[in-house]
């Protein structure tokens, strides 16, 4: 059976409207010599006949917009990308920051009822507060609500029966309510665990600098060994570079092998920016970036 998604993408490639499609594919893989498992992985499609491997379901968790700023992808004239509402927000920021052009991109918007989380949690944390189940910007809309609703009902039942709390939200609330000394200790405890694998940076669609400040050694700005206080500087700087930009896609925390509360800092900064400057990232492509603009009446009570 050919799905609407496969038919549309086939058409795009056949008529040479695009030369590359970034999408989700489903494959059988043996993991650690165990039984074969069906896994979802990002795939790059250049030939019409390959579109038959494209799928869209609640296991498509990846934010594919990470690849858009890569050299190999930029070499293609027009690119089509499969993106959920949350992914389109990061595409929106990339367009806003002149990293990609809207006219060079065909966005295949996916209506989404939530994707799966990790083993302990059937639904990803970010989906609880999702406002963009139907994307706000797209060229082609793939509506698979029907197929997903079934799964969603199952998921919701599971969530209810387990009475799951949202772990990300819980971490955030816990940290937010602490007194400053405890919060500082919590930060030291958490960030001393960091092994500086930079998975959070690599997976982030908005960390697109060709040379990251952490990789610079003349002069060295942030210590590279995985120790305090260098770790703390790295994570504070990471959060600061994403202030007013992070769209809370949650990929950093998903990729982190040490389970650090990375989105906690990002969430807090999004909240701060919303309170202070009424700014929300990833919703409009023509908006001035937060730090590229100012208001005369901006907050300055903290300045002597």
């Amino acid at each position: 059976m050919i799905t609407l998604l496969q038919a549309k993408t086939w058409e795009l490639l056949q008529q040479k409207e695009v030369s590359l499609i970034l999408g989700y594919g489903e494959f059988s893989r043996k993991i650690n010599n165990g039984p074969e498992q069906r896994i979802i992985s990002p795939i790059f499609i250049t030939k019409p006949e390959e579109t038959s491997s494209l799928v869209w379901n609640d296991r498509c968790v990846f934010n594919l917009s990470t690849y858009l700023t890569g050299k190999e992808v930029k070499a293609h004239h027009k690119v089509a990308i499969m993106a959920k509402g949350c992914d389109i927000k990061s595409i929106c920021v990339l367009i806003q920051e002149n990293q990609i052009k809207r006219e060079d991109l065909i966005i295949i918007g996916l209506t989404c009822q939530g994707v799966i989380g990790d083993k302990e949690r059937p639904k990803a944390e970010k989906c609880d507060s999702c406002q963009l189940k139907t994307p706000h910007i797209y060229d082609i809309l793939i509506d698979s609500a029907e197929a997903q609703t079934k799964k969603l009902n199952q998921v919701e039942k599971k969530v209810e029966s387990k009475n799951c709390v949202n772990p990300v939200q819980e971490k955030f609330d816990r940290m937010d309510k602490m007194n400053p000394q405890d919060r500082w200790q919590y930060c030291l405890d958490q960030f001393s665990k960091c092994i500086r694998c930079y998975a959070c940076r690599q997976v982030c669609p908005l960390c697109y600098c060709e040379k990251c400040i952490t990789d610079k050694s003349t002069p060295q700005w942030i210590e590279k060994s995985p120790l305090l206080p260098g770790n703390l500087s790295f994570h504070i700087m990471r959060a600061f570079h994403l202030t007013g930009r992070c769209v809370d896609c949650g990929e950093c925390e998903r990729a982190c092998p040490m389970n650090l509360p990375l989105t906690t800092l990002n969430k807090k900064m999004a909240q701060v920016v919303k309170d202070m400057y009424h700014y929300e990232s990833g919703l409009k492509t023509d908006e001035e970036p937060l730090f590229g603009s100012f208001q005369l009446e901006d907050e300055e009570s903290f300045i002597k």
Binding site: P180, P229, L232, M269, L290, F291, F302
Partner: protein
């Protein structure tokens, strides 16, 4: 002969007794640096535990400079620029203001002691204000104590 641990303890106390704060100040070339100069030529007395780094504009300040200083052992930071509307480059300090405000909130959320981070607007004519600001900042950093204490972790982890 005292045991090594006692020696360390003694040294610690010694450091505490003799400890003086080290505050790094980033001053914009056009207002605050001239303001500090005026304080000097006017023979105003102020706490001397401050080291000044001149930057072209407060808009040049990257929060990374602040982190780097703290990482390398500065006990406190002061960033000072022109009053809003007076910037030599017209708008540099407006952009800086946003950066500082959000950066300060980020440090606050991490539980960082805000007595160590200060921002001020000091014009070229405000030598007296400069000496007042420096004294205020250094007294707050003295209260906060040596930065090295901040990285000692508690035994019982959260």
């Amino acid at each position: 002969m005292s045991l090594p641990s006692e020696v360390i303890e003694e040294n610690k106390n010694e450091i505490k007794k003799d400890w003086q704060p080290k505050v790094i100040a980033f001053l914009c070339n056009w207002c605050s640096y001239a303001g500090a100069d005026l304080a000097g030529t006017s023979r105003l007395r102020y706490d001397s535990h401050i080291e000044i780094i001149r930057v072209p504009c407060s808009g040049r300040m990257d929060p990374l400079f602040i982190l780097k200083c703290l990482e390398k052992g500065a006990d406190g930071i002061l960033v000072s620029g022109c009053h809003p509307g007076d910037c030599h480059y017209a708008t540099g300090n407006y952009y800086a203001r946003r950066k500082f405000a959000t950066f300060r909130k980020l440090l606050e959320f991490c539980g960082f002691d805000l007595r160590r981070i200060h921002f001020s607007w000091v014009s070229a004519a405000e030598g007296a204000k400069w000496s007042k600001v420096v004294n205020e900042v250094i007294s707050q950093v003295r209260e906060a104590g040596p930065i090295a204490n901040m990285y000692s972790r508690r035994e019982n982890q959260l």
